[in-house]
């Protein structure tokens, strides 16, 4: 089969026109998810709220009845949907976060919390864009560990702690 140059050009334009809507849709869907992790120590030692926690400290005070909230570590990292990102947290905890898909304003993800090598909790959830999931309870130093997990498809997370340099995260 032979095609003249005119027919060839028409064929390529036609195929490109058919594929363009799909490509433009694919480009419109965000793939990169930024994950924010704040590790907070909560205790009843009457030391108040760490200024670095603002504005998350106010939320923590509303959720729990502790008198002390101290930011221990802040981590954040970016990963693609389907790609797991790992965070090393205080107290020998390890957090694996794997965004699965972005569906409208919701981010589907799997979260696994390890205590060393032992999985403590595994959950699948859909988190609203810029939303927060709090995992708490494990003992840590004088109180308990509260882990705030935020995810965003855009820029900065509104509830993230006010810290300088973000800690390193490992992705695989």
């Amino acid at each position: 089969m032979t095609l003249r140059p005119g027919s060839l050009t028409f064929l390529i334009i036609a195929i490109t026109a058919c594929a363009a809507p799909n490509l433009s849709y694919a480009q419109a869907v965000p793939k990169v998810v930024t994950v924010y992790i704040d590790s907070v120590m909560a205790a009843d030692t009457n030391e108040g709220t760490d200024p670095k926690l603002a504005p998350m400290g106010q939320k923590l005070r509303g959720l729990f009845g502790f008198s002390t909230y101290s930011l221990v570590m802040h981590n954040e990292g970016q990963t693609d949907c389907g790609k797991m990102i790992a965070f090393t947290l205080p107290g020998g905890k390890i957090l694996h976060v794997q965004p699965r898909a972005v569906d409208g304003d919701m981010i589907a993800m799997e979260i696994v919390l390890f205590d060393g090598t032992r999985p403590m909790m595994t959950t699948d959830l859909k988190l609203r864009n810029n939303g927060t999931l709090i995992v708490g309870g494990p003992r840590y130093e004088r109180g308990m560990m509260i882990i705030s997990i935020g995810a965003s498809t855009g820029g900065s997370h509104p509830m993230q702690a006010q810290v300088g340099t973000p800690a390193q995260a490992n992705t695989r």
Binding site: M1, T2, L3, R4, P5, S7, L8, L11, I12, I15, T16, C18, A19, N22, L23, Y25, A26, V29, K59, G62, L63, C81, G82, R100, A101, D103, M106, L113, P119, M120, M121, T122, T123, D124, L125, K126, L127, R128, G131, T132, L133, I134, V135, G136, G137, P138, R139
Partner: protein, 193 residues
């Protein structure tokens, strides 16, 4: 009037019609009156016919293509060679490019459709939405059953900031609640004694 000696020198050329018009006329005028020269011309004609019948004519098969190929091998200006090359490529490779382009386009569309974007299309269907709701309801029922055995109360709220479809833990005292006013869902994992 020309002598036979002069005319006989021109008879071969006359036979082949190679003389000038005035010479042709002169020879013809002489032949009309000279039997000797006419006889010699007849011999020329006979010899010519015999020679043509004996000689084998070379075959002309492939002659044209050989000549064209030889012309092509002659040194050509660069621009001409480029034009000829492109012309041949368009003619012979055009179909290949078309099929290749079509294959690439199909591959791109396939990649787009089998990636998570396709799941998003699929999940918008009413049937899949119903299945997803049923799965969430089953998960919530399972969570509630597990919570009944737990020591701490648990509350799941579909309108919370997070929609939990699966929660596994070795800790039987896991508590889940949401704070719609604070757009937060909490999973509480107290250390087991």
């Amino acid at each position: 009037m020309a002598e036979c000696g002069e005319i006989s020198m021109m008879l071969g050329a006359f036979e082949d019609s190679e003389l000038e018009p005035n010479e042709m006329q002169e020879v013809a005028f002489h032949l009309a009156r000279c039997e000797s020269c006419t006889s010699i011309l007849a011999d020329y004609s006979t010899i010519g016919r015999d020679l043509r019948s004996i000689a084998a004519e070379p075959s002309l098969a492939g002659f044209s293509s050989a000549v064209i190929a030889r012309i092509d091998r002659l040194p050509q200006p660069m621009l001409t060679r480029i034009k000829r090359f492109l012309g041949r490529q368009v003619d012979s490779v055009g179909a290949g490019i078309a099929w290749g382009g079509a294959a690439v386009a199909v591959a791109i569309m396939t990649i787009v459709m089998i990636t998570p974007y396709a799941d998003q299309f699929a999940n918008r269907g009413p049937q899949s939405t119903a299945i997803a709701k049923a799965e969430r309801a089953a998960a919530q029922a399972a969570n509630q059953a597990a919570d009944a055995a737990a020591s701490e109360p648990t509350m799941a709220d579909n309108d919370s900031h997070a929609d939990i479809s699966r929660l596994e833990s070795e800790n039987h005292s896991v508590a889940v609640w949401s704070e719609p006013r604070r757009d937060t869902t909490v999973i509480w994992l107290p250390d087991q004694p």
